[in-house]
């Protein structure tokens, strides 16, 4: 057994142990912290699968932004947890569920073991057409060129999620701002962290977006890092979330999908196919679309974390 194999087995065991902790931990807060740890370990696993783009997404969204969302929720729901003595499944139903889940896991594991060593692959095709897009990163090419429609609809899903979250607001708060108000005296340590982190993070976010054309990275990852920076500034309460009725906010939320769709329609008119890019002009078009996607993601994720409006709209 090589050192690398031993490392892989150790990592797998660690992932399993932390995952089991998030399921069986005694309290919700302990479970959510476990989930944050788990997300970080998962990005290590993605590195071992040589999927660096995915590792970057998992690190930024799976661990970072989701962690903020869940830890915030767990801290707020602590009162509910102690008040409600909820019946946990027990006795034979619990055993039945456990057996069912073991069977599902074993069936899946069987499928995994039966997979051929060299599976069918679209990698040759995606590399073959890569020069036409002008990009160097095939994953970005898949996202914005080969499967552009898919990615565009996924942006629509994000907008719908924001609409869903906002529609949970109480009537009088509709159009108001979510989250905490700006603090007169912010917690000094948190403010210090946010003030140093945010400029650096904005730099890193734009860098990740920009290199995404040719190296691991891209609009999702860059946008998620930018989103995280807005979240930390809001958490430090140096600034407050905008009014949800603000026109600029709504414009920024839909800019990504709208520009993407417009580019798709333009492709149908000028390049002979829906979401086709004119030859020789593909890379600028892709970067143009991506820039608006970064903007939309950087605005959408903080709005999803901030939750529904909780203050009355200012006139």
């Amino acid at each position: 057994m090589s050192v690398l194999q031993a490392l892989d087995i150790g990592l797998a065991f660690l992932v399993f142990a932390v995952a089991a902790w998030t399921i069986f931990a005694p309290g919700a807060f302990a479970a959510t912290v476990g989930y944050v740890v788990y997300g970080l370990l998962l990005s290590l696993v993605w590195i071992r699968l040589f999927a660096v783009d995915v590792a970057l997404t998992e690190a930024a969204i799976g661990s970072g932004v989701t962690g903020v969302l869940l830890i915030g929720a767990a801290a707020r729901l602590r009162a509910a947890e102690t008040a409600g003595s909820e019946k946990s499944l027990s006795g034979s139903p619990r055993l039945l569920v456990a057996v069912l889940c073991v069977l599902v896991a074993m069936a899946l594991a069987g499928v995994v073991l039966l997979l051929p060593d060299q599976g069918p692959s679209l990698a040759p095709q995606s590399m073959q057409h890569l020069p036409e897009t002008g990009l160097g990163n095939p994953v970005t090419a898949v996202l914005i060129a080969y499967r552009a429609f898919d990615t565009m609809l996924e942006k629509v899903v994000l907008v719908l999620a924001v609409v869903g979250v906002w529609s949970l607001a109480a009537d009088q708060y509709w159009g108001g701002a979510p989250g905490e108000a700006r603090a007169e005296r912010p917690e000094p340590t948190l403010a210090f962290l946010a003030q140093i982190l945010a400029p650096l993070g904005i730099l890193v976010g734009i860098h990740v977006f920009w290199v995404g054309a040719d190296a691991p990275g891209g609009a999702f990852q860059g946008g998620a890092i930018l989103a995280a920076m807005w979240i930390i500034v809001m958490m430090a309460r140096l600034t407050e979330a905008p009014q949800t009725e603000a026109f600029w906010l709504r414009l920024a939320l839909v800019a990504g999908p709208v520009v993407f769709l417009a580019a798709g329609v333009a492709g149908a008119i000028f390049a002979g196919g829906f979401f086709a890019y004119p030859p020789g002009f593909a890379k600028p078009a892709i970067l143009f679309i991506e820039a608006f996607m970064v903007l939309s993601i950087a605005v959408t994720l903080p709005m999803l974390v901030a939750g529904p409006p909780r203050r009355e709209p200012r006139q």
Binding site: V3, L4, A6, L7, G10, L11, L14, A17, V18, W21, F29, A30, V33, G34, V36, V37, L40, L41, S43, L44, I47, R48, F50, V52, A55, L56, A59, A60, S63, G64, G67, V68, I71, G72, A75, R76, E180, A181, A183, E184, R185, E187, L190, L193, L197, G201, V204, V208, V211, A215, P216, G217, I225, A228, I231, I232, M235, A236, R237, R311
Partner: protein, 93 residues
């Protein structure tokens, strides 16, 4: 050398795992947040070592992303716990 880098990554992950066993279980939330902090640092260290050994490209950016977000769990905890602990005059409606 590759073997050495991988072995050290393994040792770091192992020590971090031992630390996790101790603090993920508590007793307090503070200890649990330390778990997130510890795995952040150890994970980044292991990540850098593994990428140096296996030659996966672009891993520095992943580590950079993780480093940027390393304090987020603690920040989220303080942010959501603070209003209940000490009401801020700016907060009241």
């Amino acid at each position: 050398m590759t073997e050495f880098l991988l072995a050290t990554a393994g040792v770091i992950l192992f020590t971090v795992a031992v630390g996790l066993v101790r603090i993920l279980g508590g007793p307090g939330d503070a200890d649990r947040l330390m778990a997130a902090q510890l795995i952040g640092t150890g994970g980044i260290g292991a990540l850098l070592l593994i990428s140096a050994a296996t030659g996966a490209h672009g891993v520095e950016d992943v580590a950079l992303g993780l480093a940027l977000l390393a304090a987020f769990a603690s920040a989220a905890f303080v942010n959501s716990a603070a209003p209940a602990e000490a009401p801020d005059p700016a907060d009241g409606r």
